[in-house]
């Protein structure tokens, strides 16, 4: 599609198109009542939309116009059931590196992907804009292309209903060079554990997986068996595996009576409406011998240090006693000599008194 200036005509057409699309969304809404009332209307709109695509931009089928008016009332009531969100990427010119963005989708929603490429004066006037899903080109009337003063932008509106629609959507701008931006549509990622969980033979351990913001429909545990993944069946082996699902966004696998065979990776799979997502927790099993070696090393160090300190103390005491004995000997000699003088002095004192 070639870039063209936006006018009021195609703009209002686009709005009506959007509104009629909104009516289509109602078919997937969770309220059966409204779904039923709008079902026959939807058929009409589908036909009218196909008319649109065939006919191009100049669309003014009165029939469809009427039907959208009826739908408007319905859609205003039900449009809040499904989330709509817009995700945009800005590319800084043709020479920038490819940009990527992760889009986390929890449940069916309507999304708009917007790419805008800033334009420099050296760029040529015409640019070819395409959208690709998983590297396959997409042709869709849900794509609009705009050219503003200093940027080209393109918008792709999608209604995500099932898992087939998840994947990588890329907008490609091509003139002399090519640049693209990719949106990765994915289900919420599950947090496993980066570091392995350590446990001992004969002990029991709890492996935890959390889904932070989004609540999965279901959790399934797998264990790795070589390169395969085998489901952990807790109903078959209730005294070995217990799955605790007290809270919907946390799952705990308790493994009892651990043996060395349990030293492997475990996968917790969260099932969402739009797909599944896995988290990895790996278990490392040790025997009681493993911490024993550092223990004995440290205990030996303590005993050696205490022995050295006591030996040094005995040695220095011996030295001190030797020195003291020598001093004592000298001092006793001294006192003995003083003694003999002292006796004379005291007797003279006696006499004086």
């Amino acid at each position: 599609m070639r870039g063209s200036g936006s006018g009021s005509g195609p703009g209002s057409m686009r709005l009506r198109l959007l509104l009629s699309l909104a009516a289509l969304w109602l078919s997937d809404a969770n309220e059966p009542g409204t779904a039923m009332t709008t079902r026959d209307i939807n058929q009409q709109t589908r036909e009218s939309i196909s008319d649109y695509t065939v006919k191009g931009h100049d669309l003014s089928t009165p029939g469809s116009h009427l039907s959208t008016q009826d739908f408007n009332q319905q859609t205003e009531e039900n449009i809040s059931n499904l989330t709509s969100a817009m995700y945009s990427i800005s590319i800084d010119g043709f020479s920038s590196a490819p940009v990527e963005e992760n889009v986390t989708l929890y449940s069916p929603a309507n999304i708009t992907l917007l790419c805008s490429l800033t334009r420099t004066s050296t760029d040529s006037a015409t640019v070819e804009v395409t959208w690709k899903k998983d590297n396959e080109r997409v042709e869709s009337s849900n794509v609009t292309i705009n050219e503003i003063q200093n940027a080209w932008s393109t918008q792709y509106t999608l209604k995500i209903r099932d898992r087939n629609q998840m994947g990588n959507y890329a907008c490609v701008f091509k003139s002399d060079q090519e640049v693209k931006a990719t949106f990765h549509l994915q289900v919420p990622q599950i947090e496993g554990k980066d570091h392995h969980v350590v446990s001992y033979v004969g002990d029991s351990v709890v492996l935890v997986c959390k889904s932070l913001k989004y609540i999965p429909i279901n959790w399934i545990w797998y264990m790795s068996n070589g390169s395969d993944q085998v489901a952990v069946n807790d109903s078959l082996m209730p005294d070995k595996y217990i799955v605790d699902e007290k809270y919907a966004n946390i799952t705990k696998l308790k493994i009892l009576k651990i043996s060395e065979k349990d030293d492997r990776s475990y996968w917790c799979q969260a099932v969402f409406k739009l797909g599944e997502s896995k988290g990895k927790v790996s278990l490392k099993v040790l025997t009681y011998m493993t911490p024993l070696k550092p223990f004995l090393a440290i205990a030996a160090e303590v005993i050696i240090l205490v022995a050295i300190i006591f030996l040094y103390e005995m040695y220095s005491k011996k030295k001190q006693m030797h020195a003291e004995d020598e001093k004592e000997f000298e001092q006793i000699e001294q006192l003995k000599s003083e003694d003999s003088n002292g006796v004379e002095n005291s007797t003279t004192r006696h006499r004086k008194v």
Binding site: V198, V205, L286, F295, L305, S346
Partner: protein, 512 residues
């Protein structure tokens, strides 16, 4: 007053030499005692999951450990009074090790309470008190520095134990970690081995006189020789007879000196410190949660505690050096009250810090204040009661502080929960500490004045006693008592200088 007249040990502490090895051992012991419960929190998450208990139930482990460490104070004091520091510390180290090794095989939370909480906690109690006591026995002139260095062991050990615990946990799980920690705690025995006993090993001169006296008694067995024997040796030789005359109260006082409760300085210290501990530990416990509450990420919040620990580590020895200087040492109680009030002021100003930079500044000042208070915590008690009675004093003080230390963080937590705002907790802690600081300042001012007055009175009575002696020697009375006094006079002269210290001891006790 220059140095407090607390040379009541009966000997002059060496103030160096082997004393520095003792300080090193004491820092290891003190470090383990204070840092181990704090570093233990690394295991909480895993223990919670394995035993399937709530956070408060697992937090009881460290609470029980702290309670036993402080509550075991009096028992520790009694044991040190009886056996000396070294055997008690070695036994404490063994007890810690056994506690942690048995904790590695625990299967329920109750067993964990007993093994880690009670047994290891009591082992740490037997480490903490004797380490502080023996510093008072080895140092006098440089005691504040020695105390500051010994207390600096706590932040150093905390910075080492926390990452070590994480490393052990990652590689060995919590059971293996407890097993290895048991071995690491046995290092307290090494510290204990360094605590060489020092005590009434009399000065060499006194030894000579005793030996000489014994010889002369043997050589000249007649009554006149008794007059030649110096009075002090007589008392030493007949010392054993005196002990039997003591009644049971005094005997118990030998193990745990309850007469301290009549000691003015001790009571002041006790009341002030018990009040202070109500707001001392809560801010540390809630610093990281407060930072996260303000929107700061986990790692930066943890970094605040690291800043606190580093400033603390530097502040403690420096405070010791400042407290030892000749301007501060005589009035060390004022310095202590000032540091408590400074700490309180920090907490009162904390609610004003709303950003990360504000919290970093708060952490720096908090670390400084915390270090200052901790470095002087035991030094001031030693200064007030003297090194001989410090053994019992420290036991009695720690068991009294035990209650408020344990109450502090839960009260802070209740305030946070009720008001939903951290600032009331900080205001409460700040107010309590400023109050405690002011109380200590005023009461110590009163105490210093009373001590100065008593010193003056004592000197006055000494003078009058000396005058009386001279008057009596001049009378021409014929009674034997006077003669003996005259005869005693010259012989006693050479020993008076050595006895001065003992006289002071006697008078010191009578002041109390």
């Amino acid at each position: 007053m220059s140095l407090p007249a607390n040379t009541d040990l009966g000997y002059t502490p060496p103030d160096g030499g082997w004393g520095w090895a003792v300080v090193f051992g004491a820092s290891i012991s003190v470090g383990f005692a204070y840092a181990f419960p704090k570093a233990f929190t690394v295991y909480f998450k895993e223990l919670r999951m394995d035993f399937n208990v709530s956070y408060s139930q697992i937090a009881w482990v460290t609470s029980i450990m702290c309670a036993t460490t402080y509550g075991g104070g009096p028992i520790s004091s009694i044991l040190v009074n009886r056996f000396g520091s070294r055997p008690v510390v070695i036994f404490g180290g063994l007890l810690c090790g056994i506690g942690m090794i048995s904790a590695a095989f625990c299967t329920s939370i109750l067993q964990l309470y007993i093994c880690v909480g009670v047994i290891s906690g009591f082992g740490l109690a037997l480490n903490l008190q004797p380490s502080v006591i023996i510093i008072g026995k080895y140092f006098l002139k440089r005691r504040p520095i020695a105390n500051g260095l010994a207390m600096a062991g706590s932040p150093v050990m905390l910075s080492t134990l926390a990452p070590l615990n994480q490393f052990l946990f990652d590689n060995f799980g919590w059971r293996g970690s407890f097993f290895i920690l048991g071995a690491i705690l046995l290092n307290c025995c090494v510290a204990g081995a360094l605590f060489r006993p020092i005590g009434m090993a009399a000065d060499p001169v006194q030894k000579q006189t005793i030996k000489q006296a014994e010889k002369t008694v043997k050589e000249q067995p007649n009554n006149s020789s008794i007059e030649m024997v110096p009075p002090k040796t007589v008392s030493l030789l007949s010392g054993t007879e005196d002990e039997e005359d003591k009644d049971c109260c005094e005997k118990f006082n030998k193990y745990l000196d309850f007469s301290l409760f009549k000691h003015r300085g001790f009571l002041i210290y006790l009341i002030g410190n018990v009040l202070m501990f109500l707001g001392f530990f809560a801010p540390i416990v809630f610093l990281a949660p407060y930072a996260k509450h303000l929107g700061i990420d986990e790692y930066s919040a943890a970094f605040l505690l690291s800043i606190l620990a580093i400033v603390d580590m530097i502040a403690r020895p420096i405070t010791g050096i400042i407290a030892n200087s000749k301007w501060v040492r005589p009035k060390i109680q004022y310095f202590f009250s000032f540091s408590i009030a400074f700490n309180g002021a920090c907490h009162l100003l904390c609610p004003l810090a709303t950003g990360y930079t504000g919290l970093v500044i708060y952490s720096v000042f908090f670390g400084l204040g915390f270090g200052m208070v901790c470095a002087m915590l035991f030094e001031t008690l030693m200064d007030l009661v003297g090194a001989a009675r410090f053994t019992s004093a420290v036991g009695l003080v720690t068991i009294a502080e035990c209650c408020t230390i344990l109450l502090g963080p839960p009260i802070g937590g209740t305030l946070i929960d009720t008001f939903g705002d951290y600032k009331y907790m900080f205001i409460k802690c700040g107010a309590v500490m400023v109050l405690a600081g002011t109380f200590l300042f005023i009461m110590n001012y009163y105490n210093y004045r009373m001590l100065a007055k008593e010193e003056r009175e004592r000197k006055a009575t000494e003078e009058t006693m000396k005058d009386n002696k001279h008057i009596r020697t001049e009378t021409e009375d014929g009674n034997i008592w006077a003669k003996e006094k005259m005869q005693d006079g010259p012989e006693v002269e050479p020993l008076t200088d050595e006895k001065e210290g003992l006289k002071k001891e006697v008078n010191g006790k009578s002041e109390v």
